[in-house]
């Protein structure tokens, strides 16, 4: 329990601090790129789970993450295209991706139940961090109304994923 809380806290602090340090300077182009990156990261996590896990529920959850986050990216791209906003790579997106790559390397060394537990615990912590960041930083900072509404609509699926990850984690313990 302590480890889980620490993992959640660290992930949230990392996500939040990166954004907080930059938030006064975040443009809609930055926000769009961060949003796409955050979704892509969870797709990357799901790929690792699909390769490394043999647990039916874990693979099912990973497939769902892959499907849902790809759908979100598709619609995000459609929206920014419509708005004429070009997502701009930025230091925050790069840091997030770098942290995610390190996490993937760490999880890939694990097998069986140890991997399943690590993957789901990371999913819980990651979704908590992303939800917090979307609500507290990205939505308030976004300038364009449609982008704000899109980010607002993202919260419910993220919360559903979090709930699903928590249920799946409870089942494998």
């Amino acid at each position: 329990m302590f480890y889980k809380k620490m993992l959640t806290a660290v992930t949230a602090i990392l996500f939040g601090s990166l954004l907080f340090a930059q938030s006064p300077k975040l443009t809609d182009a930055d926000i769009a790129h961060i949003g796409v990156t955050a979704n892509q990261i969870d797709i990357n996590y799901a790929e690792v789970a699909r390769k490394n896990s043999t647990n039916t529920e874990v693979v099912k959850f990973a497939n769902l993450m892959s499907t849902d986050h790809k759908a979100v990216i598709d619609q995000a791209v459609a929206l920014v295209t419509k708005l004429g906003v070009t997502p701009t790579d930025n230091e925050i997106s790069k840091s997030l991706m770098k942290s995610a790559d390190a996490k993937i390397k760490e999880m890939s060394k694990l097998k069986g139940d140890a991997f399943n537990k690590a993957y789901l615990e990371n999913e819980v912590a990651y979704h908590q961090a992303v939800i917090s960041t979307v609500k507290e930083t990205l939505i308030p900072t976004a300038q364009n109304r449609e982008l704000k509404d899109f980010l607002g609509a993202l919260v419910a699926p993220l919360e559903s994923h979090l709930e699903h990850a928590q249920m799946a984690l409870a089942q494998i313990k």
Binding site: A71, S160, H164
Partner: protein, 157 residues
């Protein structure tokens, strides 16, 4: 002009008293004599016929509205899939009614029969729609996001 005045006089007389009133019937008779009995009868038939026609059209309209009730025509209801919920989550419908599921979420969903786990809809993409034709009581959910549930109850099982 005289004919118009005659019409008005007849109507005013008929509206004022019941038909059994002796005094007014006498007035009608006297008045009719001055314009010819035959013309009087024709006009009387016209007025009575007009009143009967008006009454029957009102009755017909009332009858038609009584016959055409919501329960007797197949209905269509709409379920919005938004914020990871089916809205409304519970519907009451008749056999043969249609339920239009509209996905207003950012992620795909489906409609799966909870009792036999049949996925009825296949995947409903964001922005897409799917129609269910009601044939039975149905407990449904989204098998992709199992916390999303709903129910169709037959009005007359």
């Amino acid at each position: 002009m005289r004919l118009a005045g005659f019409y008005l006089k007849i109507i005013s007389i008929m509206q004022n008293i019941p038909l059994t009133g002796h005094k007014r019937i006498t007035e009608i008779e006297q008045f009719s004599l001055s314009f010819g009995k035959l013309r009087f009868v024709c006009v009387l038939f016209l007025i009575v016929g007009f009143q009967m026609a008006c009454t029957s059209s009102i009755e017909e309209k009332t009858e038609k509205s009584e016959i055409t009730s919501p329960e007797e025509t197949p209905g269509k209801q709409i379920v919005e899939i938004k914020a990871m919920k089916f809205s409304p989550a519970t519907l009451i419908a008749n056999t043969g009614d249609t339920v239009l599921f509209v996905n207003k979420d950012l992620v795909p969903h489906n409609v799966t029969d909870r009792d036999n786990q049949d996925t009825l809809s296949s995947q409903i993409a964001p922005g897409a729609e799917w129609i269910l034709i009601v044939t039975k009581n149905l407990h449904f959910y989204c098998s992709l996001h199992p916390t999303m549930e709903g129910e169709v109850q037959l009005a007359n099982p």
